[in-house]
Amino acid sequence: MKTASALNTYLKETGGWVAAQLEACTRCGICAEACHFYQALGNPEYAPVWKLEPLRRAYEQRFTLAGKVKLALGMEKRLTDSDLEHWSQIVYEACTVCDKCAFVCPMGIEIGPLIHKVRTGLAAAGLVPGDLAEATDKQKTIGSPLGVTDEMWRERIDWITDEWEATIPVDKAGAETLMVFTSIELMKFPDNLALIAKILNKAGENWTVSSRGREVVNFGFFEADEELTKLFMHRVFQAAEELGVKRLVISECGHAYEAFRWTAPNIMKVPEGLEIIHITELIHQYWKTGRIKIKEGAFDGETITFHDSCKIQRLGGLIKQPREILQVLAPTSFKEMTPNKEQSMCCGGGGGVISIKEADSNRYKVFEMKLEQLQDIGAQAVCMVCSNCRLQFVDSLAHFNSAVKVHSLAELVARALI
């Protein structure tokens, strides 16, 4: 039953796009070396190409003659329930869908999106790890993976408004910009929410948050369940339509950005004329157009570096914006980690990994490498634009008793506003 669902999903998902890339793979194994999980843990099964195995088998065995012949000759194994369970661990707990592998693949195979398809099949088979499934269920039923109910949300907003003296317009019809935050910011980094509000207000933005579309994080997207993915985005889009906003701003969340900016138009109806951007882009715009001014050299002194988030930088292309701002904030002490930009290494917490308890050891192991990168340049602080990353950094740095401070870009900008 599980296998059937997974297989059917794979067949449904396998268009020419998927097939051509599966065909292009030469099994050179180079992708393994790009994978932080493989590098950190040395398990050959973490090689990205191996993560595609269920999809490959489904495609080859069902759609190609050669595959059928190989199957008949016993050169190929059929997918079984236990196979799928096995791969569930591999693709959910040892993959952040960071897609770095695509950037090293000599053939340029987009392995990340293909792994996403593998997850889709597993989700259909009901093989999503418990923690992730639980969080998703919460988002589905309660509206937030962290279990933030409508009421809690309102209270939290009020509290933040008070605490940081930030004006946060809620459900303001006719606003220009709809700002959607993550529960992580709301619950773990409320300052970020407040500081972003401060920036928006400073810029004189006509903005609002929505109680209906209050969660930007998309656990359906982590799971790769398309229906849920759509559902969660639908809530936000509906809010946007109701409020009549022209612009949807995704706060500091990588997967959300990927889902809203780069996926939504392909799987669902996006309100017409709605511009979807990331908060980093917005801040950069403000600064460039002079709507906000920031103090030059505000954070000069301690060595600060920037962590590129997979979905925002490598896949979102927002590479130069944060750097331009950091160059202003810390012209002398800003230092790049190696590798960086498109080649940067994932923090290890994305793709839902951080929400899976069983993956904690993997996650910390991977972070060790990140830590080394930080130490290599003697970073005292690290800045990023994804609260998922930030959560991983904060948690892992504490785990390793590191003194490196973690900032969000918005936070730094807000603190340097003049």
Partner: protein, 387 residues
């Protein structure tokens, strides 16, 4: 009257003992005897002093009777042997050989010619060497080549029966040659394809290098046996290496310098002719080492690619001007289109099956999927465009 030995003939011609030994050394060198292992000559194993081996043979042998038959030939090999330089035909005829039957050269005709042959067949039964020029033709029981009203096959069998050895000279007699070229209208083949119970050696070439033919005959004359051969029955001493192996232009091949056309700068400089279709690399023959007309030239030296004329069926071995690696039957545009069409049909058929399978998968998923959240239906995603 007692038949004189070759040595006696030579002495009569005024050759001194000293000159005789020198000649023997030359012949030995020519036959490649220096490089031979100990030979079993005249019944006992001798560690050969090559010149002595030759000398002893010439001192004891009478002139070797030769029957020369021509079948489907052009007489080119006879012409060639008439230009043999060492030994010359006249010295062979006068000193070493008794050519008892040769249609192009002999004085007698018709009945007399046939009777000369018959007499020789009887008189020298078991002693004469049968040289065959031209291909026997098998089709229609041999009516494509008759002599004296007899089919060539019959003539060959009759002459082969009493032969001590058979030498097939030229590509036609060796492998069928041009008559056997596609479509081989007359069922031509090589002598060795027909005569299995006699020692046969092939001296292919078109024509055979005369010195190679005479060398093989002399080898038999001197050592009483045919030279060692390769798998195609060609004497190793002459066919042990390819034309390419000893080619004058080999250094240019190694350096990757090729003439691209006749009379271009490369051709004038003597660059390798591989590109113009030279078959040297797969052609076993002594052209570049012996050359033609007393070492004057050979085809590659004269600017023309080797045709490969000492190889079986060289007429059908790909174009003479087509590089040796070139495809012999390049698929035509039509064939390629047909192949692509077949691939297209197969691919499309499979695609049809796959798309049906995909539809089934979607259907199956829809029936088993958890109920779709009601909310999402209000803004249905655009239809996916999928095949």
């Amino acid at each position: 009257m007692k038949e004189k030995t070759i040595y006696e003939h030579l002495r009569e011609k005024g050759l001194s003992r000293r000159d005789f030994m020198k000649l023997c050394g030359t012949i030995a060198g020519f036959l490649g005897l220096e490089f031979s292992p100990p030979v079993k000559a005249l019944g006992k194993l001798v560690q050969p002093d090559p010149a002595r081996t030759v000398a002893r043979a010439l001192q004891t042998k009478t002139r070797l009777p030769i029957i020369w038959l021509e079948f489907q030939d052009c007489a080119g090999c006879s012409e060639a042997i008439s230009r043999s330089s060492s030994p010359t035909l006249s010295s062979l005829v006068l000193n070493d050989l008794a050519i008892e039957y040769h249609e192009t050269l002999m004085a007698a005709s018709g009945f007399q010619a046939e009777s000369a042959k018959e007499e020789c067949l009887n008189k020298y039964r078991g002693q004469y060497v049968l040289v065959v020029e031209g291909s026997p033709s098998l089709a229609e029981d041999g009516i494509y080549c008759t002599v004296g009203g007899k089919s060539n096959l019959e003539i060959l069998k009759e002459a082969a029966a009493g032969a001590a050895a058979i030498i097939a000279t030229g590509n036609c007699a060796s492998f069928g040659g041009i008559p056997a070229a596609r479509p081989n209208p007359t069922g031509a083949c090589g002598v060795a394809d027909l005569i299995k119970d006699k020692p046969v050696i092939n001296i292919p070439g078109c024509p055979a290098i005369p010195e190679v033919t005479t060398g093989a005959i002399l080898h038999f004359l001197i050592l009483g046996q045919l030279p060692q051969t390769d798998s195609l029955k060609r004497p190793l001493v002459f066919y042990g290496h390819t034309v390419h192996d000893h080619c004058l232009r080999r250094p240019f091949y190694e350096a990757g310098k090729f003439a691209a056309s006749f009379d271009d700068e490369g051709a004038r400089q003597g660059y390798c002719l591989y590109r113009l279709g030279c078959k040297g690399p797969t052609t076993y023959n002594a052209c570049p080492s012996l050359k033609w007309e007393r070492g004057l030239s050979y085809p590659v030296q004269s600017g023309h690619p080797c045709l490969g004329c000492s190889e079986p069926h060289f007429w059908d071995g790909g174009g003479f001007y087509q590089g040796q690696s070139a495809a012999l039957i390049p698929p035509t545009a039509q064939t390629s289109a047909l192949a692509a069409g077949a691939g297209l049909a197969a691919g499309a058929a499979l695609a049809g099956i796959n798309s049906a399978r995909k539809k089934r998968a979607k259907k199956a998923l829809a029936s088993t999927a958890p109920t779709t959240p009601a909310e999402s239906t209000t803004s249905a995603p655009p239809d996916k465009k999928e095949g």
